[in-house]
Symmetry: none
Subunit: 442 residues, 2 copies
Amino acid sequence: MSTQPLEDLFTLLRFASVSTDSAHDGATRAAGEWLRNKLEGMGFRAALHETPGHPVVVAKNEHKPGRQTVLLYGHYDVQPAEPLEEWRTPAFEPVVIDGRIFCRGATDNKGQLMAHVCGLERTLLEQGELPVNLTILFEGEEEIGSPNLKPFLEAHKEELACDVVAISDTGMVAPGVGTFTYGLRGIACCEVVVRGPAIDLHSGIFGGAVANPATMVSKLVAGLHDLNGKVLVDGFYDAVRPLAEWERQAWKKLGDSEAETLSLTGSPGLFGEAGYSDLERRWARPTAEVNGIGGGYQGEGSKTVIGRSAFAKLSFRLVPDQEPGDILAKVQAHLQKQQLPGVKVEVQIGHVGQAYLMDPMSARGQAAQRALEKTFGAPPALIREGGSIPIVQAFKEVLGVDTLLLGLALPDCQAHAPNENFPVANFEAGMVLNRHLLEALA
Amino acid sequence: MSTQPLEDLFTLLRFASVSTDSAHDGATRAAGEWLRNKLEGMGFRAALHETPGHPVVVAKNEHKPGRQTVLLYGHYDVQPAEPLEEWRTPAFEPVVIDGRIFCRGATDNKGQLMAHVCGLERTLLEQGELPVNLTILFEGEEEIGSPNLKPFLEAHKEELACDVVAISDTGMVAPGVGTFTYGLRGIACCEVVVRGPAIDLHSGIFGGAVANPATMVSKLVAGLHDLNGKVLVDGFYDAVRPLAEWERQAWKKLGDSEAETLSLTGSPGLFGEAGYSDLERRWARPTAEVNGIGGGYQGEGSKTVIGRSAFAKLSFRLVPDQEPGDILAKVQAHLQKQQLPGVKVEVQIGHVGQAYLMDPMSARGQAAQRALEKTFGAPPALIREGGSIPIVQAFKEVLGVDTLLLGLALPDCQAHAPNENFPVANFEAGMVLNRHLLEALA
């Protein structure tokens, strides 16, 4: 590899493009502008599109009839670098140590994004053109939930029309093991607020005579699961598509994920739905979680009050074919039917996103697998992931296409954490993968 | 009434003497120092005694042989003022609105304490001396369970020897109705901490595979009661002394406490132990309450995490003849026997205090009733209260004397809550009561 690709990546990394922090707006915009200029210099027709937030970079080669059209997505914004004191090297000054590039954004997502850009540049230098019609779409708001991306897709639906989307923003199961993520869980959020007395009460004076909202919210949360990890909401599992037998078998071969989950989480023990393995629980089974619970006195020591209200922030991870709206309706019915005495129960609906599943044995899925095999020298791991990537669902809904998730990050790349890093070998593999992917899709 | 007593009370109220919060240690000590100086200025021999926590103020007039010795107790510390945004006036700046003094500590206990101090000052000015040997004992740790008071009583047992204790730190059943409290509930506190993963986890990546501490703490809290308001801890009711028949009858005559409880609390409905009236539930039945619950994300909106730990602050109100230590042992056994999977449950023991019951028809009980009748113009109501004043039991155990509880607070004085207040009329009545009480006991 010439040193130019790494130098380009380093240049992009030095922009402190923290999208959530308006103090960094200048750097965020500058990163988008630099990318636009870089792509233009490579011969693409490139533009920076304004949005109500950070701009979107769109670039295209010359689209010719009869060729496949591939949309390559990435994001140039990054998470905040704080806590800065935990970084061993400056957060926005890339440095290579033991074969890894350390910098905020190295893995999420600048390193993976630039692997594709530099792969394209090399192909263009060596071959003069690409085998497909390519549309590049890089946004600057992924780390704040892509609030402007779906409206942008809708407004530019024809310009962005394509046959398939490709993204490198997920993980590899192990170093050197090509990994194809063909499914993601969806999400449905709500907040339960339990209201009791009009004011916080002295628990000596009134205790025993009125309902305590913290007790009642506990009853609601406790009633979400049995001790076998099963969600007790009526009808919760009705629409769940069972795992295919090939998935269960394929995932069994991925190694001892139980030991890895224990080690990564530091939990005293595993706990989940009876009858499912650790990977099945995380990738293919729906969950109910309380992400926050609170009520009454929160400080040090004790305060003998009955708090006037209590809350529980709930989220449900969904799998095909659960519908977020249907699940939230069932959750509401489940919570209200308890008819808890002496309190009022309110449910506030939050954000939702559908689960995603594509067939890895479809024609494009097989093309992705071939490209990964050529790049890494062995058939790829076929996995789902437990998190949610709402933009994948947006591509499905607005553009009507599947997304190929070909991740280049390792579990210890510290995405979102101090000392984020990306192996130089993965950067190089990503450049190679880009060429094989476009050839396989062509 | 001259304005001096109110001015003195306002000065004491301005010290933000929040005993549970070490950030307020300076103000707490300053409140004690101010009281010592005030009492010294009135001619008492007064001293500030150091303890491992906040200091104790002790003051005496000249004790003469052959007179009754009365110990007057009060506390100069207050509850935290949070949530500050719910106060209509600044929490530590007293202001009189519609005949009530609004300030943290106005009713609990600075207003009631200063009514006695100012009553004494007036008697001394008008009569030159008091009819009894008086010992004043004001502490700064009542709101955190008086951890150092009992050791202090033991260490100063001879200096504090007396015939009876008098305290105004309880309630009146209605404005203008003198009220003699002959019983109090005890208390036993503990904090449950449920620990899961070593770090907060992404609920998409790991949700479903590890136990969520917020879910598990909810199961523990939910398991404390059934939906008939009965506490489910094994053996919880074993030692409970039933109400006497005269009490049930006397309390029935106190009016419609259910309507009053609904109106004072603003609760959507009453809820408590089946088979008992509102007053019986609050004054003579034991309870289990969660005073605070917390875990995971506490901010606005949502954050899809599994929090590493969760807590519940529990308190149990006790009645004769429940033993706090016995109850906490039973609670611990109850919590641990759930054997919740995937988490560690820790129970941290907090402060305790035994329930109190004296005979209101004893000689000193009758003296107290006479003083109340002279002050308010009618025979007093005879009640118990639901709160706990652990020091009453300490006076019984260490000094061997009963305590006369002659409260001056009204049900809507908002003790422990935002907008705490105290009627100026009650402050004045307390000054009068002080004189009648010492005369009746003399």
